[in-house]
Symmetry: none
């Protein structure tokens, strides 16, 4: 990363701020004369002069001779813009199987959770569940946390998944748990997220894998 210490004059900072503000408000970059008034510059030629400096400093890009041809060079924008809306399908309770919504239910969901795409990678058919109760603290998941699941993603060895146990085990009396799963023949190894806890085993026919956990979100404020 080039840490070129380009000193910005007061005018140049004002111009940058004005442009960012203008774009946020109008969805379109300003004209030279709008910059002139907005940033309190005395003449259009001065604006042009400063814009050239800012362009040299890589702080914005210009399209020559194009009206409103000035876009701020914000590297954050590149990362930005990709969001994903995930339907919030209900609650996940330890004593019941997790809801597995069909396509219609997904479309009609009233509440949605919005997160950035890079949080969930390429996973498709996402839905979210709110965790009720604190019986999943062994998965480091608290009451009120939101787990984002993928309906269609295959669960591979080592993935965190929602597992519904049709026969309760001794170790874990709750029926639905979030664990990392490993396929070992007819057995399933279930490993808690909490590294201080030991994995345990169930017979595969006594476990239903209900979905792959893609992301967990906790609002604390």
């Amino acid at each position: 990363m080039s840490t070129e210490t380009t000193v910005l004059t007061e005018s140049q900072q004002k111009i940058l701020e004005f442009i960012t503000g203008y774009v946020e408000k109008h969805e379109v970059p300003p004209t030279i004369r709008e910059i002139q008034k907005g940033a309190g510059i005395s003449s259009t030629s001065m604006v042009s002069y400063h814009l050239k400096a800012l362009e040299r400093a890589q702080l914005l890009n210009r399209y020559e001779r194009q009206s409103r041809g000035v876009v701020i060079n914000n590297p954050k924008k590149i990362i930005s813009s990709n969001m994903v809306s995930i339907p919030l399908m209900g609650r996940i309770v330890a004593s019941e199987p997790a809801p597995m919504p069909d396509a219609d239910a997904l479309r009609d969901a009233e509440n949605v959770v919005q997160i950035a795409r890079d949080m969930v990678g390429n996973a498709k058919d996402l839905y979210a569940l709110e965790v009720k109760g604190n019986s999943m603290i062994d998965a480091l998941i608290n009451d009120g946390d939101i787990v984002v699941m993928s309906k269609s993603a295959e669960v591979h060895n080592g993935d965190l998944a929602a597992v519904y146990l049709t026969v309760d085990s001794l170790k874990d009396p709750s029926s639905v748990t979030l664990k990392r799963v490993y396929f070992e023949g007819k057995r399933l190894k279930l490993k808690p997220e909490n590294p201080t806890m030991k994995p345990f085993y169930v017979e595969a026919r006594h476990a239903q894998i209900q979905g792959k956990v893609v992301c967990v979100i906790r609002r604390t404020a």
Copy 2:
């Protein structure tokens, strides 16, 4: 919601497509004449004609007599404006005080985390830290989790906060922990998120509150 079935002519669809493509590529809306060429319309007056129709159909907004004053009315835009970019300022390690970035550092952050605004409420001056190590599992926080903190938010009774202990306690040998804090005179009650663990107390002068935790995000895929 008005479900007015506005039939779009071929030209109008082409215009819409061209504008969206142009904006994606140039970050600036096109001019009338660029639309004319790009969408294969015969004259500028025809473009104007079609744009009026599209505006009536609520498919785009126009700023009268402004160059490039045409913005597509994409409902997804509304969603994306509800997002917030949070600079990822580094790692939080149990044995060191958490980084507290100043304004410059916030602006220059290279990585950002994007989440929906409703995840963080009205909190201002947000920054994010990646948790390194698994010494915070008592706060239900794992290695690799991302905690979103507010630099300026006041920490009130019961808020989850990052606390740096200048004198190690017996209960918790790590120096920085995430706990719910309660102010009790000269003492501070620190309550782990894990409900099976008991709160403990430190003298206020031995603890620095480093920020309020607003949200925790865990990518598991």
